[in-house]
Symmetry: C2
Subunit: 388 residues, 2 copies
């Protein structure tokens, strides 16, 4: 069995979509959020815990696994699923974003990118062909085309050149692919230029992919720009293919992007923030190290059903965090991922009932009613546009 996407329902008032992705390792209800397992592990958690917080699919980073422990090793050991003991669907990125993030260490050619390892300084070349070969060795259910992640800010000319290189590379990826059990998604670039985004989308659709990703965002642009770029690409994407907004984002970004027709997300925010003691709740952000939690007998969030909130007080979580206990990172990660995955579940229910616009209003009202003093209020920081 290969990959199949089914569009189940459209919200009657927004562009929100309810769908289902079938993969060789199981089904993903969309809109979906993917926890990030950069080095073949969602940081601090076991696969059982990742499943328990509600994840259908995880993301792993090709760049990191290519360098360590190496894709050939993982292939010899039966592929990434077996290696990391995650039997569900996996998506691997192409490595492009990570390579391009290290500006000082890489050089771009028509052929591909040469770069130095961030681990030992060794020299490597990744071309579109190599990126596909590596991802075929890893064996994820969904693999990504190798793209040039356009920097920000950048001139329109540079953005065009970068976008055109990405399209040529995408075609090479499409040709290189051999495994029929893996889905290949193309990645839309074009900087912050709506017309380039639209053009890129159209040209990728001509090549033909199993899904379309919006890349090159979360690179420092404003919230309106982020949403504009989604809106510039979305009308040109086929209805019957999944849409993936890469590396995004905050809870309110997920709500906003789903409203604009996105089906799939990944972001390190819930896991990274957890390790730093920043917790998401329905009423805003909780900074667990704050003295106000020192004798807090209740959970992080009274309304949360996660393992952490069911069994531990804020006082205990603060104690673990202040004492530098690793268990603090685990319990915080469980809570934050549960929050994200529960948010996606609520979003899916809202689409099913044609009330996504109302859900969005209520989402912001809860945040605003919360303890805004504990962190930036997402409503104030997001610059979200008018109700759709």
């Amino acid at each position: 069995m290969g990959f199949h996407f089914e569009l189940l329902h459209r919200d009657s008032q927004t562009r929100g979509r309810l769908g289902r992705m079938e993969t060789p390792h199981g089904t993903i209800q969309t809109p979906a959020f993917m926890p990030v397992g950069t080095q073949a592990a969602v940081k601090t958690l076991t696969p059982e815990e990742v499943r328990e917080v509600g994840a259908d699919i995880v993301l792993a980073n090709t760049y990191h696994l290519y360098l360590r422990p190496g894709h050939e090793l993982i292939r010899r050991l039966g592929g990434l699923h077996r290696f990391m003991h995650w039997e569900g669907p996996i998506l691997t990125d192409s490595g492009g974003f990570q390579v391009f993030s290290q500006r000082a260490l890489r050089k771009i050619h028509e052929e591909g990118v040469s770069f130095q390892s961030h681990i030992d300084g060794s020299r490597h070349q990744i071309s579109p062909e190599v990126a596909i070969d590596v991802q075929e060795a890893l064996g994820a259910d969904i693999i990504m085309a190798f793209d040039e992640c356009t920097p920000y800010p950048v001139t329109r000319d540079c953005a065009r050149q970068s976008m055109e290189l990405t399209v040529r590379w995408a075609a090479r990826c499409r040709r290189r692919k051999t495994r029929s059990d893996q889905a290949l998604f193309g990645i839309i670039q074009g900087g912050m230029y709506p017309q380039l985004r639209a053009e890129c989308t159209g040209r990728l659709v001509e090549i033909g992919f199993d899904g379309y990703a919006i890349g090159g965002l979360s690179v420092g642009e404003t919230k309106p720009m982020l949403y504009d770029m989604v809106e510039a690409s979305e009308p040109h994407m086929p209805e019957d293919k999944p849409r993936y907004l890469m590396g995004v984002g905050k809870p309110e970004d997920l709500v906003e992007a789903v409203l604009r027709g996105v089906d799939l997300f990944d972001c390190v925010m819930p896991t990274r923030n957890a390790r730093n003691g920043f917790l998401f709740t329905t009423h805003g952000r909780v900074v667990i190290k704050n003295a106000m939690h020192a004798d807090g007998d209740g959970p992080i969030d009274e309304t949360c059903g996660c393992y952490t909130c069911r069994h531990y007080s804020r006082a205990y979580l603060r104690h673990l965090f202040m004492a530098g206990e690793i268990l603090a990172m685990r319990l915080n990660t469980i809570h934050n991922l549960f929050f994200y995955l529960n948010l996606m579940q609520e979003i899916r229910a809202a689409i099913r009932d044609n009330r996504l616009a109302r859900y969005r209003r209520e989402f912001y009202e809860r945040y605003q009613a919360g303890t805004g003093g504990q962190g930036p209020n997402p409503v104030q920081s997001s610059g979200f546009p008018q109700d759709v």
Copy 2:
């Protein structure tokens, strides 16, 4: 229901004992090993995982919890069990060992010890009375008398003075205690002088405690000294009270001490070694970062039934460790604690069948047959005496 110890069976050929400790939070099968939860958490693990690896009881450190988050806070939040979400039995040490470990920062008087916090340099005094008050606030099932941990090496005169102070302090602890639901254990000191150990034991038994601990070991002495000190104390202990060898030790130490009549152990070795990538197996020590494990498709130990060995290859565990993933520490900790608790289970079965001496021989044969090149061979390092 308070504390009760029942001696169930004596091995016919050694001094090994099978027993059962009843506490308000559950039953402990002895001989037992207690995982160490210094700061109200067994490092990296949840209480459910601690239970799953086979632990009946955990130890927490009074010194650490007194300083952070504070025993009064824990009392207000319902006591240590509720605070750390561990519903089973808990033993707290008295804080003595930790205070005395910081030689530069403390001063000993007849009244007690004044010291500076290792966290913020603040000044504190712990007397026998304070140690009991703090432990009553924490609310463990078993609490320990406040002792002076005699340094090593030390003259006989110093060891005698230290031992006599410990006995006077033990009597003060006995008088201070108010809670009838907690058991109080006395701690035997006397340096490496068998006669002092014997005398201390007798004097503590005169005062009368619910159990007797052998303290002041694992401080740099040789293996024969360690075993000699156990043998010096044991004949003077009442048969109907549990015996606890504090801070010991390696797997072979547990076997040797059980043979000499000990019922209870704690040690950071399985958890600390795990975090550093040193793994215990039935055939010797495994150093997971060694290149020989890079493509190891099998588990750490083919004969092990722990979660880690059931689901993960050595190659994956090595990858996680080399990549600095916290999950490496968790999976290693689960394995090492399972090894220790499984060892205790095997020891209990051997006592039940009157074959502890044979079990000991087989234990060493397995270790010797193993991959000795991976770490110190316990048979060579332990200097264990002739078969009993």
